[in-house]
């Protein structure tokens, strides 16, 4: 993968954001991200295929058929293949998987993958309806007003029972602090300008079931975001065609893609079994253990998802995620820095773009392009992992990347 690019994650928290004023739409974000990547690889003429990851433009923006926007991004893409893929919040990850498969099949040497979502078109309470489409609609009626926060609130409640509420809340507040502190190092992050002094005490704000959910507060949640991310997926031939040096590429060495039955509830709400399955497959294919990873971008749509993710990835045992986070292992100076530009809570969560954003972040870290957010990649651990989740652990894309030598 080469030439990654993230737009700003726009929404509350950014000083440019004014909900009362007209804002850029899908077209703007697709163009900004797509054209930025193309400018580094010699333009659309070098691209064989396009793929757009998007979750719910059909409702947020009343717009479907996003694959055909590729030719708007660059006229040289006219009459070339392009599709839009959807798997809820894993749509971006599916765009990567689709592009990788095209390259592996030999049908393309260069694929432009763009993830995009523009969500601030409706108030959060209506956005909750739209995002609930990531769950089984037959369960919407029994679900909570804020549907997905409700689902993960139930998971958090079960986790409190399992390991004790106080420790779990402390770990969730620490997760929030790490997310915001990392976002402050990344100018495109939605929380880049966050100035809150005591993040952990803010993170410990008592949840209010009357206005939100029983076990999560708003700081436990990812952002409502507008944004796009793009990256080029290339073969070795494609890399030569684009004229990009190998040092500016990351190598994709394994993909784990898994789904679970959307009509079922989790067997154990304190486990993210689909993440575990997808990551296991990716790591086995790559032939590495979790301990060999230098950094991870994980899908922390909620702080509890981040913590349970640590367990599912295999960084610690079941029920030990909170201790792992509280010990500082996931902080940027810890054993395994996680979500180094803020993740979904700090950087933002333009749903259909998130999977691509995670890949761009890993690409930046492994090629030394992460600016102020740059971490050290140990020579003996040249690997990165992205974990992109759709719905309540129903579609998962896990990808392992290696720094090029």
């Amino acid at each position: 993968m080469i030439a990654g690019y993230n737009t700003i994650s726009m929404g509350t928290g950014r000083k440019e954001f004014n909900p009362k004023k007209e804002r850029p739409g899908l077209e703007h974000y697709l163009k900004e991200a797509g054209q930025a990547t193309l400018s580094h690889i010699g333009g659309g003429a070098r691209v064989d295929e396009g793929v757009v990851g998007n979750f719910m433009a059909s409702r947020f923006n009343k717009q479907a058929h996003l694959g055909a926007f590729m030719a708007m991004v660059d006229p040289a893409l006219q009459y070339k293949p392009s599709i839009r893929v959807e798997g809820a919040c894993a749509s971006g990850g599916l765009a990567l998987v689709t592009g990788i498969k095209s390259v592996l099949s030999g049908s393309a040497e260069v694929v432009l993958a763009i993830g995009v979502e523009v969500q601030n078109t409706v108030k959060a309470i209506y956005g909750a309806d739209i995002l609930a489409g990531a769950g089984w609609f037959q369960r919407r009626k029994e679900g909570q007003a804020y549907f997905f926060p409700g689902q993960f609130s139930d998971r958090a409640g079960a986790y409190y029972q399992k390991i004790g509420r106080e420790k779990a809340r402390l770990a969730m507040a620490r997760w929030y602090r790490n997310a915001i502190e990392n976002a402050r190092l990344c100018p495109t992050a939605q929380e880049f300008e966050n100035k809150t002094a005591n993040l952990e005490s803010q993170g410990l704000t008592e949840p209010n079931p009357k206005s939100f959910t029983a076990h999560l507060n708003v700081f436990d949640c990812s952002k409502v975001s507008d944004g796009a991310s793009s990256i080029a997926i290339v073969s070795e031939e494609g890399l030569r065609r684009c004229g990009v040096p190998v040092s500016e590429a990351v190598e994709v060495i394994a993909v784990g893609h898994a789904v679970d039955d959307i009509t079922t509830l989790p067997a154990d709400p304190t486990r993210l079994d689909t993440i575990a399955a997808a990551v296991k497959k990716a790591l086995e294919t790559a032939g590495i253990t979790p301990g060999q990873l230098a950094t991870i971008e994980t899908h922390d749509c909620f702080s509890i998802a981040g913590i349970l993710g640590m367990e599912a990835i295999g960084l610690c045992g079941e029920g030990e995620g909170a201790d792992f986070v509280l010990a500082g292992h996931t902080a940027r100076d810890g054993k395994i820095p996680v979500n180094t530009t803020g993740g979904l809570i700090g950087w933002g969560h333009p749903t259909g773009a998130t999977g691509v954003h995670q890949a761009v972040t890993i690409w930046e870290q492994l090629t030394g392009k992460a600016g102020a957010a740059q971490i050290t990649i140990p020579a003996e651990r040249p690997y990165g992992l992205t974990v992109n989740m759709g719905g309540d652990d129903k579609t998962v894309v896990a990808i392992v990347y290696r720094k090029t030598t």
């Binding site: 209506y126 909750a128 309806d129 009626k141 007003a145 009357k210 206005s211």
Partner: protein, 445 residues
Amino acid sequence: MTYTDRLTNVSVLGSAGKMGSGILLLAALEVADQMLKPENKDRHFVINAIDVSSAALPGLMKYIRAQVLKAAEKKVVLLRGLYAHRAELIENSEIIDAYVDDVMGLIRPSTRLEVAYESTLVFEAVSENEALKVKLFSQINENNALQPWFFTNTSSVPIAGLDKGANLSGRVLGFHFYNPPAVQKLVEVITIAANPSEMKEFALQLAKNMRKVVVPSNDIAGFIGNGHFMRDALFALGEAKILSASMPMHEALYIVNKVSQDYLMRPMGIFQLIDYVGVDVVRFIMSVMNPHMPAEDLHSDELDRMFEKGIKGGQFSDGSQKDGILKYEKGKPVAVFNSDTGEYIPISSFAATADAWLGPLPESTMPWKNLVKAPDKDSLAALAFEAYRTSGTNGAQLALSYARRSREIGLNLVNTGVAHSAADVNTVLLTGFFHAYGPVNEFVL
């Protein structure tokens, strides 16, 4: 009659007005809460939105719909529970729409008073005209066999007079909202001896359900809110008059307005507040109160002069400020009326002179918007007054005498039996006028 029984048929008189529309909204939300209780599912509830202006009713309904929608969006968690039995309502948007439809379905707009003949509770928010109120109450009372209760929003007319005039045998009390009713937390409840005890209990329960802060006031014209505001305004006009001996009237008005806002750290200056309420309304309230105050003269020649020259203030239907004593651009004062010349004089043309006369504002004085958010408002306000006492500037001197008069007005409201306590006076000014500190405080001395 239970609390819910009392709310089955409600009328709001003057419902298209500034206060009436807010009262209608609050009443509709409260009646809807009763209607949506499972035990009331077979009961029928009605709210009559009565106004003389037929032309104003469509706009009123539009306003109410928009406000109910906002209220619904804020309480979807609760609404999902209330509508859980409606299998066809799945998404938040569907539940919100159903709730808005249900609330709007309660409200019957009408220009005819006859619809109130079946009401058990009547809110009144017509103009501050005692004779008109008596006439409306009498007509409803004579034609309504249900012995309705009348809740008047009057801010100045004594309740006992309305009771006697309309022959209500104690079935009227003051239920005085502050503008805008949907936002302001304060309700002044003015009871009279003849009120049945269950009526007072109902009033307190209703205010609580509407999430209001209740301050009891005795039945003396103007009650606490206007009792303070009118005298405060008269003091300000008097100070401006004194200053005008040595400077043009518009400069004097500017100076007093500035002191009452910046030095006293209030949300707006006194003349801006008069404009907000309306020069005509303030004049009228004074005229209603004055006959009940034999020892005082609640009257201003200066306001009369302005009113005669067409200066009225008040707001446009979109809520923006009309020109009054001050002229406004984008809600900010830009000129001051001079009643001698009949012209607005731009503030920019004399502000430097007037500000020099006032002297520099002490550093400890905070803008109201910062002070009101501070946890220790009283001690911060006290610091400003400490600086005024040691500062020799004209501004500081005027601020001290203004604040001391405001305190004296507050204490007099207690001494004359209008308010039960100084704390109640402070609550009214804090919650009804958004002051950052109450007028009755030692630190202004």
